[in-house]
């Protein structure tokens, strides 16, 4: 099918199979390997993207479902000069990255949270990250990164 959608703020039209998984479309056809696949069945959140400003799982969607949609992946967060997004910077500063496999999904979830709630409390952060598994860090540094990112976005920090 001919598929038209917006990918990281750029309009795109391509030819694909309608039942192509969105994760495969992104990683294999478009070379956007930031979005990861781990469990492949919606349990881990590694493939988290945003579809029309809502977090979704690219492993449980097919191409036909994103016709006309606006898709955001981890690659779309950096600014035009490739400067890291404040949430990405916070993950680096807090040391919230170990093997890195869950990081894109975590960053997408924190970014989504901070757009809805700029100054979240700990419970809100934990709930926002409840669909994302990390097997390395024990989550505390990821919590720290989310809190640091909130401070950055609220301009409390340089």
């Amino acid at each position: 099918m001919k598929l038209s959608f917006t990918l990281n703020h750029n309009a795109l039209t391509l030819e694909t199979e309608p039942d192509r998984r969105v994760i495969d479309l992104l990683r294999e056809d478009l070379g956007l390997t930031g979005t990861k696949e781990a469990c492949g069945e919606g349990e881990c959140g590694a493939c988290t993207i945003r579809v029309n400003k809502e977090l979704r799982l690219a492993c449980l969607m097919i191409a036909a479902q994103i016709e006309g949609c606006s898709i955001e992946t981890i690659e779309g967060l950096a600014g035009p000069d490739q400067a890291l997004h404040p949430v990405q910077e916070a993950f680096v500063q807090a040391g919230a990255v170990q093997c890195g496999f869950c990081t894109p999904g975590m960053v997408m979830a924190v970014t989504d949270l901070l757009e809805a709630i700029p100054d979240p409390d700990e419970t809100q952060i934990r709930k926002a990250l409840s669909g994302n598994l990390c097997r390395c860090t024990g989550y505390q540094k990821i919590m720290d990164a989310a809190q640091l990112a909130a401070k950055k976005e609220n301009k409390c920090l340089p």
Partner: protein, 291 residues
């Protein structure tokens, strides 16, 4: 490799269903089953381009709230009508899956999966929800408790779709409560869940009560004997709830499965009844017609 069809209208959708094709709603169960080769549909009917409002809106029709089958869990949690009238449903949906799953999965999908552990089902049982099934020759309504006939089994005819869910407003219940026991809070399938509606007298004795249980039997279980035992119990009287907890442990015959044994479920069922006395119950927000 299934073909994918994107109907634009309800008529097209009903035509496709009559031809025996599989409907893709949120995909959070269907794609997992397809990956595990439990289901191998030749054609998927994708709802994303459908213009029909009925499947996607939540409407106040007077005595009832009508919910389109394709409304996602997140949209329901955010919906003021659902928040006002059915706190028990909000509490349950809040425990369903994860934020991502709640953004994708639909109420209709959770019903059609008809899992004994389906998180929306115990609340919909105590709320006396009805399903509206639509086909090319019109639509019919039936109670959800009659519609679900077993694990994964419903009374849907092959040419029908689950179109809308109708829930009567509940002015006679003052307290709404849902609790789920699982291995962790998110993304866990319930070991046991309980939805409760309680109506109180002026001196806070139980004058009306509905209980429904997830993951206890092959479908959602009810417990009329325990409900009877709870009638007249003061909300702050542990003795009354201890008797009711003993009653539920006798009344139920739980399943044993990979998540827990029957004895454990029996014990926990009593504990959840005890929690009605001890726990913080969310008062029903005042609605039009609410006491």
């Amino acid at each position: 490799m299934p073909a994918v069809i994107l109907p634009q209208t309800l008529d097209e959708l009903l035509d496709l269903k009559a031809q025996g094709h599989t409907i893709l709603a949120g995909g959070t169960d269907l794609f997992v089953h397809m990956r595990n080769k439990k289901i191998q549909p030749q054609t998927l009917v994708c709802l994303d381009q459908l213009k029909d409002k009925g499947l996607r809106e939540v409407a106040d029709t007077g005595d009832e709230i009508c919910i389109g089958a394709a409304v996602t869990h997140s949209r329901l949690i955010q919906n003021p009508l659902v928040q006002q009238h059915f706190p028990v449903l909000i509490q349950a949906l809040d425990t369903l899956g994860s934020p991502q799953i709640r953004n994708m999965g639909t109420l209709g999908g959770n019903i059609m999966t008809a899992s004994p552990a389906g998180d929306s089902l115990p609340p919909l049982y105590v709320l006396d929800a009805q399903v509206e099934l639509a086909g090319k020759n019109g639509s019919r309504r039936m109670s959800l408790s009659r519609f679900i006939t077993g694990p994964g089994a419903t009374g849907l005819n092959p040419e029908e779709i689950l179109y809308r869910i109708w829930i009567p407003k509940q002015p006679s219940y003052d307290l709404h409560h849902f609790e789920k026991v699982g291995h962790r809070k998110s993304l866990s399938i319930a070991i046991l869940s309980m939805a409760a509606l309680i109506g109180l007298t002026g001196d806070r004795k139980i004058r009306a009560v509905r209980l429904a249980w997830g993951s206890l039997g092959k479908t959602i279980a009810t417990s009329p004997e325990t409900e009877k035992r709870l009638m007249g119990t003061p909300m702050d009287d542990p003795a009354g709830f201890i008797l009711a907890a003993a009653r539920i442990r006798e009344e139920v015959s739980p399943i044993s499965d990979v998540r827990a044994g029957a004895d454990y479920r029996r014990q926990v069922a009593g504990n959840l009844v005890l929690r009605l006395c001890q726990g913080p119950l969310e008062p029903l927000k005042q609605g039009p017609g609410a006491v």
